[in-house]
């Protein structure tokens, strides 16, 4: 008998265990998976959500309370919530100050049981936020290692991994923008926390000096064992410190602290957008191409079309992109009129497509001449060939190239 170590190595190194998926299987799984993903609309940008808020979200009673606050704000009757204070600090005015601030910057720190890959306990996050942008810089050991920048107007998201010198730029769909904005308004914003504190049972705390500033505070007990404390500078009427605590099901205490606030700042997108050093490598050329595509910054090089019994069965546009790193890249994209196939329809079409491809590979079809046609504002010359499949299906293959710049 062979030693056990040899046997372990034999199994470990078994390259004979190769396996491949069929195109059919890939299509089936990806189709179902992407369909499910599309249905799940409540996906979130988790990196921007501290655990404590996820905890708050878990409490259905709190959800109701917050929903109620949002309604109250929506109706513009927040002014009815006015606890007053000994020094004359009007909490409704604080809420109005916070609402009126065009931009705010703050630091977030947290403790608790966290993802071991996360930055706890040494990290913190600095967030810049206005109606148009959110930028979050993640720090560990005093060094920035991650930046996430969302521009809701430009519908772009930039992700920078400083520790790996890589970045990604992508376009956001309208749905993604809406989702990001909804998350921002609800759970990752000191404004929401202030409103939460004011809406639930709360009491005043005695005055306290924080970093040389006289502050007044309130402590709110939200349902689900969540405690929030908010300290407001008496002089300015803006929050200077927010502390939230919660105990999870396992009895572990989680805390989040928001401090180092800068209120009433104008945050222009061009000032806040992260600068990407020249030596950083792009992770998602596709992402940049998507942005360029939406901006119309691409050149149509070729149009390929398959007509099956006189109807468009396949249409591809080949575009050229010039990327920010100086590279040019060609991308094949579905052209206007490209039909959307269901799984069954494609199953029916695929053998014909394969047969046509084999015929084309074997040699040119019957030449049908050329014609000119404007595509996306440019005149293309189309060369057409006809192929006849074994079942009598007539396929016309058409390739168009720009008339002016071949």
């Amino acid at each position: 008998m062979k030693p056990i170590e040899n046997f372990e190595k034999l199994i470990r190194d078994l390259h004979v265990l190769d396996i491949n998926t069929s195109a059919e299987m890939d299509r089936r799984i990806l189709h179902d998976t992407l369909k499910v993903q599309k249905k799940c609309k409540r996906t979130k940008l988790a990196e921007t959500q501290p655990d404590i808020w996820r905890k708050i979200m878990k409490s259905s009673i709190t959800k109701l309370a917050v929903a109620a606050i949002l309604v109250v704000i929506g109706l513009g009757i927040l002014s009815i919530i006015d606890t007053g204070s000994k020094s004359g600090l009007v909490w409704a005015q604080v809420a109005r100050n916070v609402e009126a601030s065009p931009g705010v910057i703050w630091r977030l720190r947290g403790t608790g049981s966290r993802d071991p890959d996360d930055d706890w306990p040494n990290g913190y996050k600095i967030t810049w936020r206005s109606a148009a942008i959110t930028r979050t810089d993640n720090y560990r050991g005093g060094q920035i290692y991650r930046t996430i920048y969302l521009n809701y107007d430009a519908k772009t998201v930039i992700w920078v991994a400083h520790d790996a010198q890589k970045y990604s730029k992508e376009a956001m769909s309208d749905e993604q923008v809406q989702r990001a904005q909804a998350d921002k308004e609800r759970w990752t914003d000191p404004r929401s926390l202030l409103n939460l504190c004011l809406s639930v049972e709360h009491h005043e705390l005695s005055q306290k000096i924080i970093n040389g500033v006289l502050c007044e505070g309130i402590e709110a007990m939200a349902p689900g064992g969540i405690t929030g404390r908010m300290w407001i500078a008496v002089e300015t009427g803006y929050p200077v410190l927010v502390e939230v605590e919660a105990i999870d099901d396992k009895g572990i205490r989680h805390t989040s602290t928001l401090d180092q606030f800068q209120w009433n700042v104008d945050l222009l997108a061009e000032d806040v957008e992260p600068e990407i050093p020249a030596d950083y490598q792009s992770l998602g050329l596709e992402g940049e191409m998507k942005i360029l595509s939406e901006q119309g910054k691409k050149e149509l090089l070729k149009v390929e079309e398959i007509l099956r019994d006189g109807t468009i069965a396949w249409k591809v546009h080949v575009y050229k992109y010039e990327l920010s790193d100086g590279q040019t890249k060609e991308m094949r994209e579905g052209g206007d009129g490209m039909p959307v196939y269901s799984q069954d329809q494609f199953k029916e079409f695929k053998p014909k497509l394969e047969e046509f491809r084999q015929l084309k590979k074997a040699g040119p079809g019957e030449y049908l001449g050329t014609s000119e046609q404007a595509v996306e504002g440019r005149v293309f010359t189309f060369k057409r060939e006809k192929y006849l499949l074994s079942d009598g299906t007539e396929v016309i293959w058409s390739v168009g190239t720009p008339k002016d710049g071949q």
């Binding site: 008998m1 062979k2 056990i4 046997f7 372990e8 199994i11 470990r12 078994l14 004979v16 265990l17 190769d18 396996i19 491949n20 998926t21 069929s22 059919e24 299987m25 890939d26 089936r28 799984i29 990806l30 179902d32 998976t33 992407l34 499910v36 993903q37 599309k38 799940c40 409540r42 996906t43 979130k44 940008l45 988790a46 990196e47 993802d115 071991p116 890959d117 998201v157 992700w159 991994a161 790996a164 890589k166 990604s168 992508e170 749905e175 993604q176 989702r179 992770l283 998602g284 596709e286």
Partner: protein, 181 residues
């Protein structure tokens, strides 16, 4: 690892591209594991299909403490275990009924292109009790630690080590027996 972090981040943000990339990146590993654990190509495809569909549903709640590959492999192992139990129930329900179910399933060749060697290995592995098979494969082929396997199987690390030892010895006897033939 970094690419996985980016993919997860994008996936949680609703990116279909990221989901496709995760699929492309790990499908073979997952399918190989599922095929060996289930010794049935149809089941293997179903297992991997279900794992990906569940994964797609989990975007909001997903919070990975380890790496993505281990997570997905564990999901496949869990599904395969359930599938195995399900199949055992079918067998207990009676051969006719089981055959009727089998006849409705797809032809394996239609979906997965696996080598003859893989089939041979799957057949050899199928001679092990399921728990031993899972332990040996998760440890040697999926690179999972005994602690991780114990967590996944809901048993102690010592039990896992025992299953591994027994499984490996039995496999060795099977293979030595094959050579002697």
């Amino acid at each position: 690892m970094l690419e996985d972090k980016v993919l997860i981040w994008k996936f949680k943000y609703g990116s279909g591209e990221a989901l496709c990339r995760i699929y492309e990146k790990y499908i073979k590993d997952l399918l190989r594991l599922a095929a060996i654990l289930s010794n049935n190509a149809c089941d293997a495809e179903d297992i991997v299909h279900d794992v990906f569909v569940s994964f797609a549903q989990s975007a909001e709640t997903l919070r990975l403490s380890g790496n993505l590959k281990s997570f997905l492999l564990t999901c496949v192992a869990n599904r395969a275990r359930n599938k195995n139990k399900e199949n055992q129930r079918w067998q207990m329900a009676g051969l006719d009924e089981a055959e009727s179910v089998a006849s409705q399933s797809k032809t394996p060749e239609q979906w997965i292109i696996q080598s003859e060697e893989l089939r041979r290995w799957s057949n050899i592995m199928a001679k092990l009790p399921y728990e031993q098979r899972e332990t040996v494969i998760l440890h040697l082929r999926a690179g999972m630690k005994f602690r991780q396997i114990a967590q996944s199987q809901g048993v102690s690390v010592n039990t896992v080590k025992g299953r591994y030892r027994y499984g490996l010895n039995k496999l060795r006897s099977i293979l030595d027996g094959e050579v002697e033939k």
